[in-house]
């Protein structure tokens, strides 16, 4: 119950916020172009600033009260010059934020900067109103674009629907029970007739069947054969973990990273291009982006709980933006397990043969959760080696190709032909 009430609370809050937003936007849009400001802000400022929170730079709420507009314009355009010139406020600010310089934005016109300032003010106002907005409000309404809110509404509707269905079905049952009670005698007579007739047939069939030894034998044979086939197939799949999808300590989505954001596989799995291990990226690689990307817009302004797990791993405090000295490595669950006696080298396949990651790992860019796409059996390896043509551009193969041309003109040269099926290539 507590869940539902909190859900309702949040629902109400977000709806009221969006209503207020709508209202506020219409109010302030005339003075400056808030829309342009928003675009500029998102493109240039979000890496380091938030309205209500310190990030690399200060929280921007209230900056118009703290500083004059001219000051802000000069500051935004070239903060370094200001610091160098010894502006006391600028120097204080500079010192406060670990002497990190804000990049100069000389390309901005005064108007553009004013737009940004207006956008910030606007956002600030929204936040203030959201905080002040009374809890509770009208249910329903399609003004919310928030995915979460939408889902909650849907769930509430479903609940109502379910209750409705239950009520209706109850009615129907009760009616039917009444009907049965009214015709009790007639039903019993019919049932008795039916049982006598059908029961006699079944027994006769079974007796006939059992007398025919050949048929029994044949059926038994069929059963045994069926079991054997099933057993055979089952045995072949022992140790084959195709589709293995363990729960990972962090709900990392390849669909978001590789799919939506189009991050190159190499960025995180650089090992695949150099080494036998594709290697899971170390947490510092994650922090390259997640230093600032907190996915807060999906979590109601809070940092995503999954990203917080990453912060925990590297012992990063997002408020002070400092690293502690108590990191805890992330213990991922390994999905692709080759037995120890099989040697596999990623770079051989990725760099030399030019195999796409997806060939073995499947449509990784669509996987919310990664699962084992390929069976990873030896048959699977061998089948591919029999068909995959060797990359003839590689100068290493020149000698082999020459020899091959002499032997079998025109035929393609596969990995198998140059020893790709020999035991010692993978087992040593």
């Amino acid at each position: 119950m507590r869940n539902i009430s909190s859900v309702l609370g949040r629902l109400a809050k977000s709806i009221s916020v969006s209503l207020v937003l709508l209202f506020a936007v219409t109010l302030t849009s005339h003075a400056q172009d808030v829309k342009e400001g928003a675009a500029l802000f998102k493109a240039n400022c979000t890496a380091c600033h938030k309205i209500d929170k310190k990030l690399t730079g200060p929280a921007l709420a209230g900056m118009s009260e703290r500083h004059s507009e001219e000051w802000l314009i000069t500051w935004i355009r070239n903060s370094k010059a200001m610091v160098d010139a010894g502006d006391p406020t600028a120097v204080a600010l500079f010192d406060e934020y670990n002497k990190l310089l804000m990049p100069a934005f000389t390309q901005f016109s005064d108007d553009q900067i004013k737009n940004i300032i207006a956008y910030v003010k606007d956002e600030e106002a929204k936040l203030a109103q959201a905080a002040a907005a009374p809890a509770g409000g009208a249910a329903g309404g399609g003004a919310s674009s928030d995915a979460n809110t939408f889902m909650l509404v849907g769930m509430a509707a479903l609940l109502l629907l379910a209750i409705g269905v239950i009520v209706v079905l109850n009615r129907v049952t009760r009616t039917l029970e009444k009907v049965i009670a009214n015709n009790q005698a007639a039903i019993e007579a019919a049932q008795a007739r039916n049982e006598e007739h059908e029961g006699g047939d079944k027994v006769k069939f079974a007796q006939k069947f059992l007398k025919n030894k050949k048929l029994v034998g044949f059926t038994a044979l069929l059963l045994v054969a069926l079991l054997a086939v099933l057993g055979w197939q089952g045995m072949w799949n022992i140790g084959v973990h195709q589709g293995y999808k363990p729960v990972q300590p962090i709900k990392f989505s390849h669909q978001i990273h590789a799919g939506v954001n189009q991050i190159e596989c190499q960025y995180c799995h650089g090992g695949a291009f150099k080494s036998k291990n594709a290697s899971i990226p170390s947490a510092n690689v994650c922090m390259n982006c997640h230093n600032t990307i907190t996915a807060a817009d999906h979590y109601n302004g809070e940092t995503s709980p999954e990203i917080l797990k990453l912060y925990r791993a590297v012992d990063f405090d997002p408020d002070t933006r400092t690293y502690g000295d108590n990191p805890r490595p992330i213990e991922w669950v390994r999905i692709h397990n080759l037995p120890d006696f099989a040697y596999f080298n990623h770079s051989q396949h990725v760099v030399v043969a030019g195999v796409e990651c997806q060939t073995c790992h499947g449509p990784i860019e669509t996987m919310e959760e990664v699962y084992q796409y390929s069976p990873l059996t030896m048959k699977w390896c061998v089948d591919c080696h029999k068909e995959t043509e060797v990359n003839a551009d590689n100068k290493y193969y020149d000698q082999l190709i020459e020899a091959h041309e002499k032997l079998k003109k025109g035929e393609k040269m596969t990995a198998a032909m140059i020893g790709g099926l020999e035991c010692g290539k993978c087992h040593y």
């Binding site: 650089g270 947490a283 490595p329 991922w332 760099v351 035991c423 087992h427």
Partner: protein, 1001 residues
């Protein structure tokens, strides 16, 4: 074609002892009890059907239960912050140095897994000795201390520091001596730290003492040249080498560097140019160096001086009294002297005795031969052995007198390796505070009050200077694993200096070493060394009072001369006992006797017969009032009336693997004229009981097959094909199998029997690279050692110029002093028509298109047919899970030590056959690198582990399809033959005939 010589693997084979004939029948020592099971009693049991059903039911149930466990969940834990230089799966190499040699350390994911020579280094640069290769295991040794200790209890460093500083202050206030006892320290940083420490405490003195001392040589050079140094020897310039009891290819000074230089005048390249040096050895026990000599004369230890006096007389025409009376030696010396004089400027004499007079005489001879400058370099002298026996004596005296307040021991273990351990203990008892820097609670450390354990060189910052002008860096490849602290850091802390060790070493290099070289600190870290010396030394003339020296030698010989004389020697494998806990080294067979896991009394077989000692017998060896009981080895080549015993065994507090292996022979040494002497008058008597040594080479028989080809240099010069056995019997051969094309690579190997000295560093390198388990003494006795590569040693026995070629002639042999030895590395020959492949019922071993004989472990189910069918006896069967079985708790049975394993090679499990894979992981890695770089594979891109460890360049590997590869060139050599060529298995490893540069009288 028949060889002119008959070869014996050992006396068992020569004598055809009953035990040998019995054991040579089967491939495996213990037959499978098939007969017992199938005999009547086994089959006619009371209720076989019920038992069968019970067994079946239990089996089914057990298997089902065992199969019921869920697939384990594997975790993958990436770095939190990945070090920039590490890519998982790719090795990193760091330049470092060990025992003065500049080496490259290969690390994987931050853990060191193997050591190879730095190919660009000055000095030894094409191989490493066995202890160096094996040293990586010492890093993962569980027997080391994990914390500093006071009185045997773990303490914090701060507590230890407080205690030590208090003791130091007390000693300083009382004006007592503070002594640092160490073995030779040539590290500039360590010396700088000692100096910094001495500046704080002025009563500090630094005593250097080596377990096996070269004081005599240093003293002699001081007397004759005024330079108290051990010279460095450049055998590359020596065409005639005479060694009197110096194992200069093995343990004498820097044996591995000598091997590299010495072989340059004897390998296939040199022979191709028609040149080969001549090497004459006079010695009592058959050393590795002696086994490689062209001419070897067995003499008693007391005759060493006499031989040198005779040699001096012959060379100079003088007639000093006291020359040798040994007839064999006299004839040899006459011929040798002529050789030496003819080769003036490229001839050298070396002697192993740690005796001032003998070394002075040698200096005089070498001056006559003009060896100073080109061969013996006194300018760029060696700094490896600076220990002074007399300085240690002085320390003991002062300590016993209560004058020493504090004593530190660094890499020094005198309670074990000083001949009078009680003296050391007594002295220690009188010292107010004693501390050892040992990495383990060893014999000396347990006698001291505190232990400040040091990390291994793989965890340390430091440097070495094994030679004047040569500076090598030691850089850590991993963080200190245990709570240890480098000695330099400790000394600095106690001197009140809180500089970090990195800053200290760096600053010391920048101010004292790098100045004027134009190199920066980073250059050094990358290159590993700086050389400021010259290419060759200048000429020196010894100033020796010959008459006095000669009479002193004659006098001293009387001390040793007797019916039985004892010779203590450093074993090539175990050295002075420092590495006794290294299981790889313990299982490395001695190059000559092939004994593992023990030392022994080596006796001439005839002498043993006189003593009444039989096979597996034991003797009591007594010398200098001390005695030890040792098992006997019948050693052909051993001088009559002598007994040789290896040092370095009998450690009691070194760790799991090395404790109580063999007997400690150091107590048999003595102090004469201020230097520790390793030869003495002795008595040898039969002791009760028997003891079976774990010898490897008695394991198979060669059935009289002609697998060694040997010629003399004179014959070779007439006809390079001589004795290679290739052209005498040409007959048509038939193939049972189809011929397959090998268009890509064809991996082959050439082994130069003339270059192989038998040292065995290739075996250890192979162990490290291929995760080959150590099996322990008992299993070696059962012929179950796992070495993929072994070095077979064959004897031929000569008497009065005749070769013993028939078994029945053995009875007539007077003594076994005249033997010649051939070392033959034997590994999987990767036969094109491999007999093992055809008998495997499951196709677990098959041929590749690159000419390799593959072994798929996961396919093998252990019928062992292949091992039975292998003519070379190179297949090894895993009788146990050696890395995971409490019965083999030598070294690898814990997760920590398992970190030494090469992650690119599978660890084989019980019931699986294995053998040399031709380092297929290296071949594959080399090919992949070429493919990634989009280029053809170059000759030299792929090096075998054994090849990389061989400083003699005896193993050449490469692609036979590349006509310009080194191996193709080597295999076109006239000397090449294939072992057991006649059975047409078409091996891919070619051997080159052994050439002996005998003196044709």
């Amino acid at each position: 074609m028949d060889s002119n010589k008959k070869y014996w693997k050992g006396l068992e084979e020569l004598n055809q002892t009953p035990a040998f004939t019995e054991s040579s029948k089967g491939e495996f020592a213990e037959p499978i009890p098939v007969e017992d099971v199938l005999n009547e009693a086994g089959l006619s049991t009371r209720a076989p059907r019920r038992d069968f059903l019970k067994a079946l039911g239990f089996g089914l149930g057990a298997v089902t239960l065992a199969a019921c466990n869920r697939t384990p969940v594997h975790k993958a834990v990436p770095y939190v912050i990945k070090p920039e230089e590490i890519t998982p799966g790719i090795p990193n190499y760091y330049a470092s140095s060990f025992n003065g040699q500049s080496v490259l350390v290969r690390t994987r994911e931050g853990r060191p897994i193997s050591i190879e020579a730095n190919p660009n280094a000055v000095g030894l640069n094409q191989g490493t000795d066995a202890p160096t290769v094996a040293s990586v295991l010492d890093l993962y040794d569980m027997s080391k201390l994990q914390n500093p200790q006071i009185g045997g209890k773990d303490v914090e460093w701060s507590k230890l520091d407080a205690t030590v500083i208090a003791a130091l202050d007390k000693a300083a206030a009382a004006g007592k001596q503070i002594v640092l006892v160490s073995n030779t320290v040539n590290s500039p940083s360590t010396l700088a730290a000692v100096a910094r420490f001495a500046a704080k405490y002025p009563t500090v003195s630094h005593v250097q003492v080596d377990a096996v001392s070269y004081s005599g040589l240093v003293e002699a050079n001081k007397n004759t040249f005024g330079k108290a140094v051990v010279p460095s020897y450049n055998f590359a310039n020596a065409q005639v080498v005479v060694s009197v009891a110096a194992d200069f290819l093995g343990t004498w000074l820097s044996g591995e560097e000598h091997t590299q230089d010495y072989i340059k005048n004897r390998d296939y390249k040199s022979l191709k140019n028609g040149k080969m040096s001549r090497h004459i050895q006079f010695e009592s026990g058959l050393s590795m160096t002696g086994s490689n000599a062209d001419v070897r004369i067995a003499i008693k230890p007391s005759e060493e001086g006499a031989v040198l006096i005779s040699l001096y007389n012959e060379i100079t025409g003088q007639s000093l009294s006291g020359g040798t009376t040994n007839a064999k030696a006299q004839t040899a010396i006459k011929l040798v002297a002529k050789e030496l004089v003819n080769a003036k400027g490229s001839a050298v004499v070396v002697a192993g005795a740690n005796d001032v007079n003998i070394q002075s005489l040698v200096n005089a001879i070498n001056t006559q031969l003009g060896a100073y400058g080109s061969i013996i370099d006194l300018d760029n002298y060696s700094k490896q052995y600076q220990g002074s026996d007399s300085a240690f004596q002085a320390f003991l005296t002062a300590a016993k007198a209560g004058q020493v307040g504090v004593a530190f021991f660094l890499n020094s273990n005198p309670v074990y390796d000083y001949f009078k351990a009680e003296d050391v203990k007594a002295a220690l008892a009188k010292v107010d505070f004693s501390l050892s820097f040992s990495d383990r609670a060893d014999e000396t450390a347990t006698e001291t009050k505190a232990i400040a354990p040091v990390p291994t060189y793989l965890e340390s910052w430091g440097d070495e200077s094994s030679k004047e002008g040569l500076f090598t860096i030691v850089q850590p490849t991993i963080n200190p694993i245990f709570n240890t602290r480098q000695v330099e850091q400790s000394l600095l802390v106690w001197a009140g200096d809180n500089a970090s060790i990195y800053d200290f070493v760096k600053q010391n290099w920048e101010t004292n070493i790098l100045a004027g070289t134009g190199k920066s600190w980073k250059d050094v870290l990358q290159q590993g060394f700086v050389y400021k010396g010259t290419a060759t030394g200048s000429s020196y003339a010894a100033n020796v009072d010959i008459a006095t020296v000669a009479s002193a030698i004659v006098n001293d010989a009387k001390r040793i001369a007797g019916d039985v004389e004892l010779k203590l020697y450093e074993s090539t494998v175990m050295r002075d006992g420092r590495y006794a806990n290294n299981a790889y080294l313990q299982e490395l067979p001695d190059p000559v006797s092939k004994v593992t896991w023990d030392n022994y009394a080596a006796l001439n077989p005839k002498f043993a017969e006189q003593l009444g000692v039989g096979e597996n017998g034991k003797v009591t060896v007594e010398a200098n009032g001390q005695s030890i009981v040792l098992p006997v080895v019948f050693q052909p080549g051993q001088a009559m009336g002598t007994v040789s015993v290896a040092l370095g065994y009998g450690r009691t507090k070194v760790g799991k693997a090395g404790n109580n292996v063999g007997q400690n022979a150091f107590p048999l040494a003595s102090l004469v004229n201020g230097t520790v002497q390793l030869s003495a008058k002795a008595t040898v008597s039969k002791a009760s009981g028997t003891y079976e040594l774990a010898q490897t080479q008695t394991h198979h028989t060669i059935e009289g097959r002609n697998i060694i080809r040997e010629t003399t240099f004179a014959k070779y010069q007439k006809d390079p094909n001589s004795e290679s056995g290739r052209f005498s019997d040409t007959h048509k051969t038939y193939d049972l199998w189809n011929k397959y094309e090998q268009p890509g690579h064809k991996w082959v190997m050439a082994i130069d029997l003339n270059a192989c000295t038998g040292c065995g560093s290739c075996i250890v390198a192979c162990n490290v690279e291929n995760n080959i388990p150590v099996v322990g003494r008992d299993e070696v006795r059962r012929r179950r050692e796992m070495h993929w590569l072994r070095i077979d040693r064959y004897y031929t026995i000569e008497e009065n110029g005749n070769k013993i070629t028939k078994e029945k002639e053995i009875a007539g042999v007077q003594d076994f002093e005249n033997v010649t030895v051939v070392h033959q590395p034997m590994l999987c020959q990767h036969c094109e028509h491999a007999p093992c492949e055809t008998v495997c019922p499951v196709l677990a071993t098959v041929h590749s298109s690159e000419g390799l004989n593959h072994m798929a472990y996961n396919r093998c189910f252990g019928t062992r047919y292949c091992a039975n069918n292998c003519p070379y006896k190179v297949r090894r069967f895993n009788w146990f899970n050696y890395w995971n079985d409490s019965r083999f708790d030598n070294y690898l049975n814990n997760e920590f030590t398992q970190l030494v394993l090469n992650p690119d090679v599978t660890t084989r499990s019980r019931g699986v056959m294995e053998k040399c894979s031709m380092c297929i992981q290296r071949i594959q890695a080399g090919k992949l690198q070429a493919k990634i770089e989009n280029r053809p594979l170059k000759d030299g891109d792929v090096k075998m582990a054994c090849q990389a460890a061989c400083s003699a360049n005896a193993i050449i590997f490469g692609d036979a399809n590349d006509p310009n590869s080194e191996v193709s060139k080597a295999l076109r050599n006239e000397r090449v033959y294939y072992v057991l060529e006649e059975i047409n298995v078409q091996p891919n490893i070619g051997y080159m005939t052994k050439v002996r540069n005998t003196i044709e009288a």
